[in-house]
Amino acid sequence: MAQVTLNHVRKTYPNGHEAVQPCSVEIPDGELVVLVGPSGCGKSTLLRMIAGLEDITEGELRIGADVVNDKDPADRNIAMVFQNYALYPHMTVAKNMGYGLKNRGASKAEIEAKVQEAARILNLGDYLDRRPSQLSGGQRQRVAMGRAIVRDPELFLFDEPLSNLDAKLRNQMRIEIRSLQQRLGVTAVYVTHDQVEAMTMADRIIVLNAGRIEQIGTPTEIYEHPASTFVAGFMGAPPMNLLRADIAGGRLQLSSQTLLPVPAPQLATDSVLVGFRPEDVRLGGDGSAVLEVQIIEELGAVRLLHGHLGDQPFSVSIGKDEHATVGAQIITLPQDRVHFFHPDRGTRI
C-alpha cells in the first residue's frame, strides 16, 4: 500500500509528439483514481508510465517513498490488469496467477496458498486447472484480477479492463472490482473512456484532454462544478447543454426572442457560455423559454427530449411519468444550477 506522487511528469515521443504535458498529481494511500478522457488524450500513456512500460521523459514519479522513474516494472511492486486480459494462453488459471510469484522465487507451498486464496476471493476455485481459452470473458477478467492480487502489490493499475465485456457483465464487474479494491485497501489507478465507470468507481477522477489534466476532483465535484466546457461536455450523459448567450445590459440574450432567466455574470467579454444539465431543466412554466422538440428518446427510467432552444441545440431529461410531444414545449430553466464558462477559453467562471 502506498501513496503515488507524480511531479511534473511528462511524456514526449521521439517524433516530437507531446503525449502527456507536465502533470502533477498526488494519489493518497488506498484511493481509487480514475483517469478518464477521450481516445488519444494520454490517459493510457500516463498509466503505462506509472507501470514502467513507458519511459518518463521528464519529471518524477514516486510510489511510496521511492522515486521509481528508472525501476523496472517488476521492481515497482505493482500489478496491472489489461484490456484484453493478457493471460498466458498456454498456462492453466493457477499457473497464470502464480507466474509472478514464481518469478520472484516464492516457494511452491506459498504460491499454492496465495493462488487458492485469490481463487476463493474471486470464485475461481473450480477453474484453476483450465486454460484461458476455456473460460468466458468475465472469468478471464477475474483471472486477470487474480493475477494482480496474488502478489499483494502496493498499487493496482487497470487499463480499460471492462471494455471487452458486454454491458451487463460490465456493470457487475465494476461493482466487484470496486468492492475488492476497497476490501484490500490497495491504491489503484484506473483508466477508462467510459464516464459512467469513472463516476461510479472513482474516489477521485482525473479528466484528461489532449495530454493535459482538465480537472481533478471527486465525482460530485466534477459533475457539479466542471472546470471547463470540455469536462462539462464529457462527464454526464446526455452532456451538459452549452448555450452561447450575449450579455446585454446585465441580461443574457440567447436570440432575438429568448432571454435567459438568469442574471449575467460580471465579465469583460460581451458574450458567455451558459451551461444547464439536462436533468435540471423542468417542463412547463411561464413560457419564457420554449424548446422546439425534434426527437424523443425513450430510455425507460427517463425520457430525453432533443431539440433547439433559440436556434441552439438543447436536450432535456424528464422523468418517465412526465409527458412530452414533438413540437414546441414550454420549459423552465433553473435559476440556481447554472454554469458559466468563458466564451473563448472555455474555463469556468
Binding site: A51, P73, M80, Q83, A86, H90, Y99, N103
Partner: protein, 302 residues
C-alpha cells in the same frame, strides 16, 4: 460439406425420398484415389522388386510379384558392410542421416528462433536492416555458395565431421522469417504482462514464447527435417570418408562402386531396399508431428 448436404436432405424428406447420389463427393474421391495411386504405385513396385534376384532386375527392370529374396535383401542392406572400403552398413548410414536430419532441424529452429526473438523484441540498432540481410540469404541457398562454403569448412578442418555436415546448411533465413512473422502476431500486452510479472528476457523466451510457438516449431520441424534428410549435394561434397555417408548419398555409392568393379552384377535389390528404408523416417516424422500440428491449430491458443 458432407454435413451440409445431409442437413439439407433431412430438412426436406418428402421432396427427396431417395438418397441422392452425391456427385461432388464421388468426383472428390475419384481425384484423391487417382492421385494416391500415382504416388503409391512406384513405391509399391520398388517394394515388390526387392524380392527378386539381382539378375532378374538387371534383365527385366522393375517387377511386380513376389519372390523369395525380400528378407535377405533388407538384411543385407541394413547389416552387410559394403562400399569401397567395406566399412559402411545400412544402419550406419541411417544413423548418419538421422543425425543430419535432427541436427539440421533442431539447429535451424534454435538459431532462427533466437534470431527472430532478437529482431522482434529488442530495440536494436539496425534491427530491420539486419533482418533484411538475413532475409537475402534466401536468395543464396547452399548450392549457390557451395564452393566458398566447401573452402571454409575444409580449411577449418571440418570435412568429414557432423559439424561440417550440418552447420553450413543451417545458415539460411526461412526459419527466422517464419518465427519473426509469428512473434509479431503475439499481442504486445502479453510481453508487458510478463514484464510486470518479473519475467526477464530469458524467462519470457523459455516460459512464454517457446510454448506459444510449439505449433510453429512442429511445422518448421517437419519441413526442415525432410529438407535435411534429402540433402544430397552437400553431403556428397563434404563427406569423403565412407563412415560419414548418409543414406541418400550411400544408395548411389553402393550401385556405383559395384558396377565399376565389374566383377559382379550391381546389387540393385539391396539398393532398392535401402531407398525404401530411406523413405521411412521422413514419413514417420510427418505422421507424428502432423497430429501435433493439427492439435495446435484447433486449440487456437493465442
Amino acid at each position: 460439406m458432407a454435413d451440409l448436404t445431409q442437413a439439407g436432405a433431412v430438412a426436406r424428406p418428402l421432396t427427396r425420398p431417395r438418397k441422392r447420389i452425391r456427385w461432388n463427393r464421388i468426383v472428390d474421391h475419384a481425384v484423391l484415389i487417382t492421385g494416391s495411386l500415382f504416388m503409391v504405385f512406384p513405391v509399391f513396385m520398388v517394394l515388390t522388386t526387392i524380392s527378386f534376384e539381382d539378375v532378374d532386375i538387371v534383365q527385366k527392370g522393375l517387377q511386380i510379384g513376389l519372390e523369395g529374396r525380400m528378407a535377405e535383401n533388407f538384411h543385407d542392406a541394413m547389416f552387410e558392410a559394403s562400399g569401397f572400403t567395406k566399412t559402411i552398413t545400412g544402419t550406419r548410414m541411417l544413423m548418419n542421416s538421422l543425425i543430419l536430419g535432427f541436427g539440421f532441424a533442431i539447429g535451424k529452429i534454435v538459431i532462427s528462433m533466437m534470431a527472430a526473438y532478437a529482431i522482434v523484441y529488442f530495440r536494436l540498432r539496425f534491427a530491420t536492416f539486419a533482418f533484411w540481410i538475413i532475409f537475402t540469404t534466401l536468395l543464396l541457398p547452399l548450392e549457390v555458395r557451395i564452393l566458398p562454403s566447401y573452402e571454409a569448412i575444409q580449411s577449418l578442418g571440418l570435412a568429414n565431421t557432423y559439424t561440417g555436415l550440418i552447420v553450413p546448411l543451417i545458415a539460411s533465413a526461412t526459419g527466422t522469417f517464419f518465427f519473426r512473422q509469428f512473434f509479431r502476431s503475439i499481442p504486445e500486452e502479453l510481453v508487458e504482462a510478463a514484464r510486470i510479472d518479473g519475467a526477464g528476457p530469458v524467462k519470457f523466451f523459455i516460459d512464454i514464447l517457446v510454448p506459444l510457438s510449439r505449433t510453429m516449431i512442429a511445422a518448421i520441424f517437419i519441413i526442415m527435417f525432410v529438407y535435411g534428410w534429402n540433402q544430397y549435394l552437400w553431403p556428397t561434397l563434404i563427406t569423403t570418408d565412407e563412415g560419414m555417408f548418409t543414406l541418400v548419398r550411400g544408395i548411389k555409392q553402393i550401385v556405383q562402386v559395384l558396377s565399376q568393379t565389374g566383377a559382379k552384377i550391381p546389387e540393385y535389390g539391396k539398393a532398392l531396399a535401402l531407398s525404401m528404408i530411406a523413405m521411412i523416417p521422413p514419413v514417420l516424422i510427418v505422421i507424428f508431428f502432423q497430429s501435433w500440428f493439427v492439435k495446435g491449430l484447433t486449440e487456437s491458443d493465442k
